[in-house]
Every structure is written in C-alpha cells, then in structure tokens.
Symmetry: C2
Subunit: 240 residues, 2 copies
C-alpha cells in the first residue's frame, strides 16, 4: 500500500495537477480528475468560459472567450472593462482586505454538456458533462511579445488556423485590448458519463429512462455583407 | 424630450428590470437589455448556468442546473455541497465583513453561443451570443411546498413535461436535497447579433469574413440498461 501511494504521487507530479483543498470537491469525488491531458482536451474543445471575480465583496460571473498556450490561459477584453481595470489595479479582495499587489483572484470555468440523463425517479435526473475549474490570480499581460502570442491564441482557439488568415492588430487596436494571464496550476476536471443510476426498486416503473445526447454543430457560413464574392471559404472553415 | 424619458421610465417599471450600477455594463451598453421577456426567453432556452459565489474571499464558479418559476430561479445540490452549506449558514462575505444573516451573495450567469463572428481583422473577431447575468442573494428553501415546486421546476426546465413522468422524490431524497432560491430583481441580458464590424479600410483584404452559426441538437435517445423494452419513448421526448 505504501508503494502504491508513492507511485500515485509520482504520477501526480508528472501528468497531473496537484490537488488542493479547493480543487477537491466535497461531493462526487469519483468524478474529479487532475489529469493534464484531460484538462487540456476539455479546455481546447470550446472557446467560451465563465470568468468569476469579486467586486466590492460580491461575486461577478461573465462569459468571455479564452485561449490556451501550454499551461497558461489568456482572456481578453477592452482596457476599459471592469475585470481588466481591476487586474491592472490589483483590486482583488482577499480575506476581507484589499490586495494592493497587481492581480485579480479569479475562477475560470468551462463546461460541456454531453447529454440529458433521464431517470425513472426525479431525484436521479442529471446531465452528462465535462467541466474544468481553474482557480488563480489573473495578471495583465504587459510584454508586447506575449500580448501578440496571447491574441493569436485567442483567435486560434475559436477556429484553429484563423490568426494567420486575418489582419493582425495594429498599434491602436493593441492599445485598446487588455489581456489577462492565468496560470494552470490549481485546476480540476469533473466528468459524468453513462446512464441514470436509478434505485433497483424503481426498475419496474413505467417511465422511459436513458440518455438524450446533446450535440453541437456548425451551420452554413453566412458571408459578411462587404465580402468580395471572389473570396472563397477557406479549407479550415469548410472543415468545421 | 422630457415626455420621452417619462415614457421610458414607465416601460421600465412594467416590462423591464430596473438597471442598477452593477447591471449597467461599462462597455457595449447598446448590447444590454433589461427586458423581462427577453431575459425569460434566454433563461428558458437552456438549463445550465454558471453560479458564482465568494469563498474565503476568493471567487468560485460552478456549473449547475437551474429552474425558473416566474421571477424566481432555483438551483439545487446536495445538502453537503459547499454553496448549499454556505447559504444555510449565511457565510457570504459582503464589504469585507462576514454576513451573519442567512443567504449567500451569488451571481448566476447563462450564456448561449449563436455564432462565430469572423472578421478580416483579428481585432474584430467576436461571437454572437445571448447572456443573462443575475445578481442576488441565494436563500435556502425550507418550505416543503416550495421545495416540491422548485424540484419539479428543475426537472421540467431540462425537459418540459418530465416532472409528471417520473417518480417524485421521497422523504429520504428530499432530505438529501438542498434548494436555493434567487429572486430575479437585479438582472440584465446582453445580446450580440449580426456580422463582423470590420473597418472600411479593411474591405479589400483577401480574408473570408462572416458568421458561422453554432447550433445545438439532440441525438438518438439511448435507453437505460435496465429499461423494460416495452416502455416506449414518450412524445415529449421524441419531440426533442
């Protein structure tokens, strides 16, 4: 048993995030994972996250786009938007006191819904999902090189290959854009798969039970009003 | 002009939520709306929200299901889960001080992605979306009647008609389930529609631009392993 524990620890260091008090769920621990590959796969499958921060002591959750470069996530916004100004000004509230150092405590969450789980009992209804929760401190990116890398990552995260097929930001646009960096360090994934877990005594109830898969797809591309009809849909978009 | 303003105020009282300092965005105000019908429509089109609260001074954002009954949202969880215990114990942190009265300050956000907006310039890339942000205080539902109404609403919000076609919770199940109530009072919607807003000087650039619609659909229902084959898929599920 001792050996098994050491082996697990070694695996954690290599391929997993270190669990912390706040990334170990109080419920359904068997659904939690700290595996880096799983976390990256969940993060890379979509582009929309829900970013939480604390403003005047109260929680704020905003939907926003993100990009990933290795173990770093980037979110962006106007330099005038609230979380961007708060990160630049270090207006996070930690333990009730204003934190004066730069950085904004955030929680960034990404969720895929894979199916509706319908059970014979109301109580066992659920959804199949994959989610990632990232805790950390968001810091404003100030290095011009990292800023360009981050903006390319944000564009490419929505459609891989798109950054190279668009005009890069000019000086005025870059000055109007703030990017926050969040390190992937305190991270957990949670996954539910499979059918409903009804009680054995409910087996004979006359209610249909099972999973209704939820799917996402792309519709027919709609060209912009000012698009030259001679510009064909590129392959990486047709492939969506 | 005076008359026009009064008329707007009257409309706000009847069909809209009252804007507050934190529901008026600092950016893209033209995309914000306080219209009740729009807010309800966005909330009723899906069942997954991202619920934010403050724990030990730091933000936490968790995906969870919700239901709506008029101007009230319900979220549920195990009685042992963190936000449920915090709401029951009144452990919200407001203005840096522990709030001893019951209730947990929350921000509940729902987002639909309707399309990827690809512009000729990286800067003008965006997504078409509809979101609702609800600020408020979550209170634990203790009235047994309201608890049953809330649980039915949660099940019916995922699949309308499902609550009546499943076994209701028994005493043990109800005791294991905590439900939080959040009033729809401080609420805003935000909507982006339409194509990319490229700069006129970028019109001739050779990059494809436009909108790629994002669609959600349901796959073929997968019956549970223990489902009696004689139980047919009911009409309200086939209609999905």
């Amino acid at each position: 048993m001792e050996y098994a524990m050491s082996e697990t620890d070694a695996m954690t260091a290599a391929g997993s995030y270190e669990p912390t008090e706040r990334t170990v769920p109080t419920r359904s621990r068997e659904r939690a994972s700290y595996d880096r590959e799983l976390v990256h796969a969940i993060l890379d499958e979509t582009y929309l996250c829900h970013l939480g921060f604390v403003r005047d002591g109260a929680p704020v959750v905003l939907p926003t786009l993100y990009g990933r470069v290795g173990e770093v996530l980037y979110v962006h916004g106007s330099t005038g938007s609230r979380p961007m100004r708060m990160a630049a000004q270090g207006k996070g509230v930690v333990d009730g006191a204003r934190e004066e150092a730069p950085g904004l405590p955030v929680c960034l969450t990404v969720t895929h819904v894979d199916g509706l789980v319908l059970a014979k009992s109301a109580f066992h209804h659920s959804i199949n999902y994959r989610s990632v929760v990232v805790h950390g401190t968001a810091h404003q990116v100030t290095d011009p090189e990292e800023l360009r890398t981050a903006l390319d990552a944000l564009v490419d995260h929505v459609v891989p290959g798109r950054a190279a097929d668009s005009r890069p930001g000019n000086a005025k646009e870059l000055a109007a854009t703030a990017v926050l960096r969040i390190d992937l360090a305190e991270v957990s994934a949670k996954v539910r798969t499979g059918g409903p877990n009804d009680e054995p005594e409910d087996a004979a109830l006359p209610h249909w039970a099972g999973v209704i898969p939820v799917q996402k797809s792309y519709g027919t591309p709609e060209p912009a009003a000012d698009l030259d009809p001679a510009v064909a849909l590129p392959g990486y978009l047709a492939a969506l």
